[in-house]
Symmetry: C2
Subunit: 479 residues, 2 copies
């Protein structure tokens, strides 16, 4: 074992034992040489090795910092079996409402910071796009929608290797509209629909609104829905549809590997059950390569793939789309029936913006920001939250799912946090039966500020206080 | 009886007997003096009198023209009793699809000509409005929506004498979205909803989509829904909601007088049944005064009033709103759940446009155009359609409802007309049970052109040919 390996192991063990914690800076080369009598090259080699092991991160012109890693991932979910009428809306609206005030730390927000988007470039594109519209566009652009934008969207799928034509795309008022239309296109009131556990609350609300029943299937925090469990549900329960977020799921951040996506599509094809694929975070991968959606493996038109520009480019424009496969005509008709069409000026603005490479340059910048912010948030969880806390470390998107040690109650923590002007998204929002009472979803989509740092420290204190009260109470009960 | 009255009576009788027909020019003063030896002042007085009686119209620097008036109004509808599951969509989509090609004469269109709107001024307003948006507007403007626009809308109601505040308004993706949300806010699958007969097809489609049953109530072509009949339905059938277009109804063009609107609201209040009021044509009155909506008489928050800018200002922007009364919070939540929010740039554009008097100037011009175009269309119906044809003469909007003499079949006429590149909206589109087989809705929202004149002549010929074939067939059957 060489000198530098020895030195690296020593630091690794300090990290493991918690002496060095997430966010701490490693000694500078000068300090290390002074205190340890090692050469600069030994220090550098040791730090490179620690970086390669994923224990530390180099910050240009600053030094090396310990990465968050001690907390294990949350356990696979284990929802109670059976389908269920849904009623999560009250809690969801309460939490959403709490995020609207600007002085509240937006850890419970569902959106990335609006400052991450190229608003000025979009305004210019809107002006140019609207000049190009002629008067008859209001008729021409009825569903499936503005053709130049559908062409630009198809081009992006082609770059992923997917053969998508503009004719297969139906534009919508954001992905949520597309998802609701796809759900209606595939179900009747009273039907059962498979969802993840935990599950994006808007999916639960859509089921509630359309009088559908939720079958919650266990979901791994890293790799998504449990396919063996799904196979059994398909055999026994005959659901009419499956609604999943296959890449960077909300709230877990899980990413289903490509092989698993292929297997999922094949499994559903055998049962002829449609998959509604909510894919709004795919562009926000932190690594170097875009994940393929399940739609890429769909040969039968059974995948209704939905996405939008709301999370990646233009929040508030409400421009999304569906690739509904064999349900395309039905979805376009439902769009006509429910709101006639999307907003044409917004569609024209995005068609103009997408013509050159600006979107990819913006995305590269946004991905770097999201990756950095996630690290800052994870570091803060590790630093401030009670021992025994588990958390996800998603490879994309801007959510972190935190599992708190018993007896901490997320709803009580949510109430206490609001008293300190801090929002969070408590776990029961993400379940048809109020499970995940000890979990939170935290938003890492906002640039790190002293206010956020303070909010995370306060959250950690509030959680610890709850834990102590809970333990004391349990002690009294036993005594 | 004076000379000029004699002369006026003589001309009136020529009009009555069909010698002078709609669109014909009256003799010039010079011709009248030459052929009748009357003074210029006698001719003028006679023509003023005829104009006052509504028989002719003065065209500046051109002369006097006979107005269409021989055709009586269509009879009050008499739908079969009972509620009914709805299935009109196939026909509706076929007809809507036929209107998309620009070479088709758009007599079946649901929209006014896009050339009637101030597109350039809207583009400038969009640029100004978007400059005013800050990044956080995407969060601030979640439902109920962009506050500056809600303020402008409230101002317009104040001008009508209605006390509306911005807080009572929920913005939507056009009126159709608002109507669908209001329908969902007031009903559960399986409920029965009162609609007009004939009825706007999108209302029937909304009922179909939400598994609701339609109770069709007889409707007068001039004054709207039969209130006595409604009173009996409320007693016996306990509908959960009533959905009406109280001003310039689609397709009849009927305008419920203010007293009747007040009585309607009082009747529904006694039964505590909500009224969904679709009021998208109110701004398009042809006379000098805006009709008040039923909402103006609502003291209990039971009227869910819906409107938009799509027909009056900005088609394709998809900006509408609801005043849902006591259902406001529920409607805002449904908006959040189904599509998160409307398009914020479009809302900001209209907020900017509405700041000064431009909208009222545009409306004044548009109302004049619609009134003129209606007259041209009515004249063409009278000139070219078979004897026995009845038609409405709405006081606003851009639809004319035509009742054809037996045995003409509107669906067959629709098919024949498509073969001549002419679209029309056949009566069965407007009924849950395919009634109105001998009726058509014609669109007078497009500037009169030689193509439209030719299309109307062709339609008249096709109708006459059908009538002859039908009569011949009946003769054979009897013989």
């Amino acid at each position: 074992v060489s000198l530098y390996e020895n030195y690296a192991d020593e630091i690794a063990s300090l990290i493991e034992r918690g002496t060095l914690r997430a966010g701490d800076q490693l000694p500078s080369v000068r300090q290390a040489r002074a205190t340890r009598s090692v050469s600069a090259s030994t220090v550098f080699q040791a730090y490179y090795l620690l970086e390669a092991r994923g224990l530390v991160r180099a910050e240009p012109r600053s030094g090396y910092y310990v990465l968050p890693q001690a907390a294990p991932a949350p356990r696979r979910s284990n929802p109670k079996p059976g389908s269920r009428r849904v009623a999560v809306s009250e809690l969801v609206f309460e939490v959403l409402g709490s995020v609207k005030a600007r002085h509240i730390a937006p850890l419970g927000s569902a959106f990335p910071s609006p400052t991450l988007f190229p608003l000025e470039a979009l305004r210019r594109a809107a002006a140019a796009g609207m000049r190009r519209l002629d008067a008859w566009s209001t008729v021409d652009d009825l569903p499936p929608g503005h053709e130049p934008l559908r062409r630009q969207i198809a081009r992006r799928y082609l770059k992923l290797g997917m053969a998508v034509t503009p004719e297969q795309i139906v534009l919508s008022n954001g992905a949520l509209d597309a998802l609701n239309l796809c759900l209606q296109a595939t179900t009747q009131p009273g039907d059962a629909v498979v969802v993840e556990s935990p599950c994006f609350y808007a999916a639960l609300q859509a089921l509630e609104r359309l009088n559908l029943k939720a079958i919650e299937v266990p979901t791994h925090s890293a790799s998504g829905l449990d396919l063996e469990h799904l196979a059994r549900v398909l055999e026994r329960r005959k659901p009419q549809a499956v609604w999943l977020m296959t890449s960077f799921q909300n709230p877990l951040g899980s990413l289903m590997p490509e092989d698993k996506k292929r297997a999922l599509v094949q499994l559903l094809a055998r049962h002829q059950v449609p998959l509604i694929e909510d894919d709004v975070y795919a562009e926000l991968y932190h690594g170097s390569q875009a994940p393929l959606p399940a739609k890429a493996f769909d040969t039968e038109g059974l995948v209704l793939h939905c996405a939008s520009f709301s999370k990646s480019l233009a929040p508030g424009y409400r421009v999304g789309w569906a690739l509904p496969g064999r349900y395309a005509e039905r979805v376009a008709r439902l769009k006509l029936m429910t709101s006639l069409s999307g907003s044409i000026p917004a569609q024209a603005a995005l068609a103009d913006y997408l013509q050159d490479g600006a979107f990819d340059r913006h995305l590269a910048q946004m991905r770097r920001a999201l990756k950095r912010q996630q690290e800052q948030l994870l570091t803060a969880v590790e630093r401030h939250f009670p021992a025994g806390t588990r958390m996800t470390r998603p490879l994309g998107g801007y959510f972190v799912w935190v599992e708190l040690p018993a007896p901490i109650d997320a709803l009580a923590l949510h109430q206490a946090a609001l008293g300190h002007d801090i929002s969070l998204a408590p776990g029961p929002m993400f379940s048809a039966r109020a499970e995940f009472g000890n979990c939170l979803r935290l938003n890492s989509g906002h640039p790190w500020t002293p206010q956020l740092a303070q909010a995370m420290a306060t959250l950690g204190q509030l959680a610890a206080a709850q834990q102590h009260r809970g333990t004391a109470l349990a002690g009294e009960t036993q005594g």
